[in-house]
Symmetry: C2
Subunit: 328 residues, 2 copies
């Protein structure tokens, strides 16, 4: 079986306490003893059992990440940066793909607490989940209000929606339509929609928002976009609430022979490096993905260390940037 600390002690000819002292750099130990112990660990292929250590220390250095899915490039990149940042500070990350399903999110939350994670970062979107309120656990939300006490990190979604809409207006669009995800989820996209609608109204335009409900049908998005074009043959500007929707709009528009950007201008949202590589021509609102990740990680570690979260940190809003492409 796996060797334990006693096996190492025996093999190195010292006491278990001495091994523990070497492992934790406590008290006085001679270099010779250190070497002997390290040698023994190597020879027996010993890995200190973190379960036992964590159990005693009441600290796991384990973080739970609840996100919709790593399959989406925005989350894939965000999670990458989050894991990176945690890893460099000695934390490990448990990955949970909630798929924006309430039942999954609740199950994961339960699982993470059983596993004694030191904290969680939640970027999933869902209807309100009450569990977060009674929870005693350091947490940071990304782009979502989980409870009064849980700080939120996000980029400036309202500004993003505003900049996108104003950009299309400035480019001369007469009929601008917005496509958005499910309204009932607490997504940041709602603020983008809000901004779009307010800017439109302020400019004396009539806002039209198409809603994409959650669907298992692969072609659902295409169907709705098709419908949008059928119902609005004169549309000349589309603001999509994320780049993948924008990409679908783009290809559907091309199918219909619409010239981009003369007949139709398109702007997306997110600006992931994946989409930038695949569709460098797409105009989009770029989120500061790495900065969001870093802020969330710092804020969580701050809490884990028992430091208070001052009011200004309760709601961190990071700047977005217009990334000008050829689709507008």
């Amino acid at each position: 079986m796996k060797p334990n600390i006693k096996d190492i002690a025996r093999h190195a000819g010292v006491s278990p306490t001495t091994v523990s002292r070497v492992l934790n750099n406590r008290g006085y130990i001679s270099q010779k003893t250190k070497d002997k112990v390290h040698q023994a660990m190597k020879e027996l292929n010993y890995f200190p059992n973190e379960l036992a250590r964590s159990l005693f220390k009441q600290r796991t250095h384990l973080i739970g990440l609840i996100f919709p899915t790593t399959a989406n490039p925005f989350y894939g990149e965000l999670i990458f940066h989050i894991e990176n940042a945690f890893s460099s500070k000695g934390y490990k990350v448990l990955l949970c793909n909630s798929l924006n399903r309430v039942d999954k999110e609740i199950d994961y939350l339960d699982m993470l607490q059983r596993n004694q994670v030191d904290g969680i970062i939640v970027g999933a979107h869902n209807r309100h989940i009450s569990q977060y309120e009674s929870m005693y656990l350091p947490a940071v939300a990304i782009d979502r209000n989980l409870s009064n006490s849980i700080p939120v990190v996000s980029s400036d979604n309202y500004l993003g929606g505003k900049v996108a809409t104003e950009h299309l207006l400035k480019k001369g669009c007469q009929k601008i339509i917005h496509i958005n995800g499910p309204h009932e989820l607490e997504t940041p996209a709602n603020k983008r929609r809000e901004a779009y609608e307010e800017v439109m109204v302020k400019e004396g335009r009539f806002p039209i928002t198409y809603e994409l409900r959650q669907s298992l049908d692969e072609n659902y998005t295409k169907t709705i976009i098709d419908q949008l074009f059928d119902e609005n043959p004169d549309v000349d500007g589309i603001f999509a609430s994320d780049d993948l929707i924008a990409a679908t709009v783009l290809s559907e528009a091309k199918k219909r022979g619409k010239d981009i950007p003369t007949e139709l201008k398109i702007i997306g949202y997110d600006g992931t490096s994946t989409v930038k590589t695949c569709l460098p021509e797409l105009t989009t609102i770029q989120q500061p993905i790495q900065a969001i990740a870093q802020s969330a990680v710092d804020l969580l570690i701050h809490q884990i260390n028992g430091e208070a979260v001052d009011e200004p940190l309760k709601n961190i809003i990071l700047p977005i940037q217009l990334s000008n492409g050829f689709t507008t």
Copy 2:
């Protein structure tokens, strides 16, 4: 502090053993007692400590995933399916982004073993790492040989390279060039290159492979592609070893005013749904991502359950598919 099993016992007016029996469905317990215990757990917000359970049971239901980065859509999707499959079987997943760096991979491997994971799935690419040989731990590799005893799951990379090359030939390309990642890494792309080179030679053509070394420079890929076009103004077919490279080729070609597919045909590799959404027109070799994930997960759980891995399972090769777009 967090309640423990004794607190629950006291609160429910039963013995700790009874609580444990309820928790594990062991022995005889009346419904009334079960209810009392569950009620107490709810009231005290109790989460059974998995560390303690795992420590005793010598089983964590924890799996380590070592992959280059979730930021890449291929890995993002693969990891999504892997996590999904594990989650449905009661396993949790520790995410490690190795960035194809040997030092990171070794550190993660160490960390995972300290954390007593039940097994690991490795999809990272690197030079040979000897640690895998001495390791006593169920493992599955994706697209890479880690050691003699560790089974490998992959899609048919040789066939993929062959199909891609033959496809370009069939479409009438006269000068086909291949672009590939770093040769020194043990990547599946090497088999794609091998197939390309063999098919070319068999057809009496001269194979030309451009190698993309690992680089921190964002524009490095573009630079090499630029160089490729400069050095080969007559190139009329490019087989890229992944879709993101293909996408870059596509946009660089457009910049040079090359008409796709008449002047230049492009074929990529991977066929992730992200790229399919962004670039539906791209011809590519589609990997069965979900099937790869499922096979790897099944195979690992198989090993964890102590069942032998028969010879045919040691090297699972799944079929690829040509996804015909408009770039060829």
